[in-house]
Amino acid sequence: MNTQKLVGVGVFLIAVFGIVPWLISVTGRWDFYYTLTSVALLSIASAGVWLTFYIGRINIGQGAYALAGGYVSAILTTQAGFSFWATLPLAGLFCAGLSILIGLPILRLRGVYFAMVTLVLTEVGRLAALALPVTNGAKGITSIPLPGELSIFGLTLIPDFATLENPKLAFYLVAAFLMVICYAALYRIVNSRLGHLCRSLQQNEELSASIGVNTAYLRVLAYSISSFFGGIAGAMFVAISQSIYPSSFQVTDSVNFMLNCFLGGLGYVFGPMLGTLMLYFGWDLLFTAGRFQLLIYSSLLIILMLFLPNGVLSLFERKGGRK
């Protein structure tokens, strides 16, 4: 990492953890915490989708893993007495495991076939949540307790959310922290050998195999990391809303995760984060347009993709460069 990048990261961290909370306390717009927390979590799920794009697969199934992760956390906290903080990684791991089982057969598909199957996956997730006894059908799981205290060796890292004066701020900080960790991991993946191999897979699977890459293994690995991101994002969401229903994550969410990646730029690690922010705020800003909201929104998206096929971040790209 060069100095320019380090400065960029520093500014970003100060903005997220310092300036935003300060601005919100000055302006009194506490509702923004919920919005920004959502953006942070949605951008984690989108980061996962982005990684599947990176191996050359269009993933419209992230909603299924967000839903699964949410249910894992909800069930473990309400029925098995787990601390929320333990369920967070467990939700991620559960989704990673599930995605290995699902990915093994479907990752052989390419292009529109893979995309279609993943799209169906989201719907299967919703139907499973409706049908399974453990998920409590359409009534969902409600009154999920707020996250408790997280301490290691008697040292309190995170206080019990129920005792906090301002849990909104706490949720925002946790979500932003998770987002930073996930994007740091993604950045590392992309800039290490794993990322180079993923790119080789995206550009030419056959050649990749002929230079000795175990392409099947690599695809499943990338997909399971992607689903891990989806799972923890879902679990965190559930902790905030304290409830989950089969409709908590649907096909539209899956499609939005994918759009976030397109919008921000598939060639940029931070593309999905920017895409999520723009899409989320764009939708809200258009609220005043009333019944034309969806029409204007969709038209703008189409125009953006036509004129900036490599995403918004490509605007800042120097000629011939990358990332």
Binding site: S192, L197, R199, S200, E206, A209, S210, I211, N214
Partner: protein, 260 residues
């Protein structure tokens, strides 16, 4: 001398079409062997079978006595049998150097997790790959296009890059499918010299499919001729040029006359 590679009675059918019919031949270590034949004769299919990109219908391929047919392609590559493609295949959106570096995958000692964490082993691997890539670039005389994106390269350079990618895997047997296609005379002669040096300096056994007959005659120790999926001749360049069946096969097709 025991052969390094043995092709034993290999047959491949695509539905009703028999692309390879009971083909057998041996390849000696450090040999340069060319497979020639008219278009559609089944040469590329044979290479795909050897590198295990296709499953044989019957017959088998042995590397140093060990059966390699029908293993996963990346496993065969791991054992040292690596193929370049007839259709130019490179990683388009990477530079020449990045293409070659990524192809060093088989040589990594660190695990993917190690690379993620940036362990000492991973860093020394990366440094080694970079140095080795530069060496290959110099070996093939590609220094001027080191940082060029592969998608910007002309056909001749793409072929050279294909070979560089093959080389990066450190193969014991390298299969080159039409390595001189799209090259002018000078480029071809340079590549012929490079293939020779590959064998002489690095001890690589080379199998190649090529239509450029002067180049084939110049470079090959031995030649195997295939027509309609069957092996019709095998021998030294001089023997092949004098072979009745071969002349007949070539006269009967649109391919240029055999010989120099």
């Amino acid at each position: 001398m025991t052969p390094i590679l043995q092709v034993k009675g290999v047959t491949k059918r695509f539905g009703g079409l028999t692309a390879n019919n009971d083909i057998s031949f041996d390849v000696a270590e450090r040999e340069i062997l060319s497979v020639i034949g008219p278009n559609g004769a089944g040469k590329s299919t044979l290479f795909k079978l050897i590198a295990s990109f296709l499953r044989t219908t019957s017959g088998e391929v042995l590397l140093k006595g060990r059966r390699i047919s029908n293993l996963a392609p990346h496993k065969v590559a791991r054992l040292g049998v690596v193929r370049t493609f007839q259709e130019t295949t490179i990683f388009r959106s990477m530079t020449v150097r990045e293409n070659i570096i990524v192809a060093h995958h088989l040589r990594s000692k660190a695990s993917l997790l190690g690379f993620f964490l940036g362990t000492k082993q991973a860093r020394s691997d990366e440094a080694e790959f970079g140095a080795s890539a530069d060496e290959i670039i110099d070996f093939l005389g590609m220094g001027a296009i080191r940082d060029e994106f592969a998608s910007n390269l002309p056909q001749g350079h793409l072929r050279a890059l294909g070979m560089a990618i093959g080389l990066a895997t450190n193969p014991t047997v390298l299969l080159l499918d039409e390595p001189f296609a799209g090259m002018n005379h000078d480029e071809t002669m340079r590549m012929v010299a490079n293939v020779r040096r590959l064998r002489d300096e690095r001890g690589v056994t080379v199998l190649l499919v090529e239509h450029d007959m002067p180049a084939v005659m110049k470079i090959s120790d031995r030649i195997v001729v295939i027509n309609f999926g069957e092996k019709i001749a095998e021998g030294t360049p001089a023997e092949i040029q004098a072979n009745e069946k071969v002349i007949e096969a070539y006269l009967g097709s649109e391919d240029a006359a055999i010989g120099m």
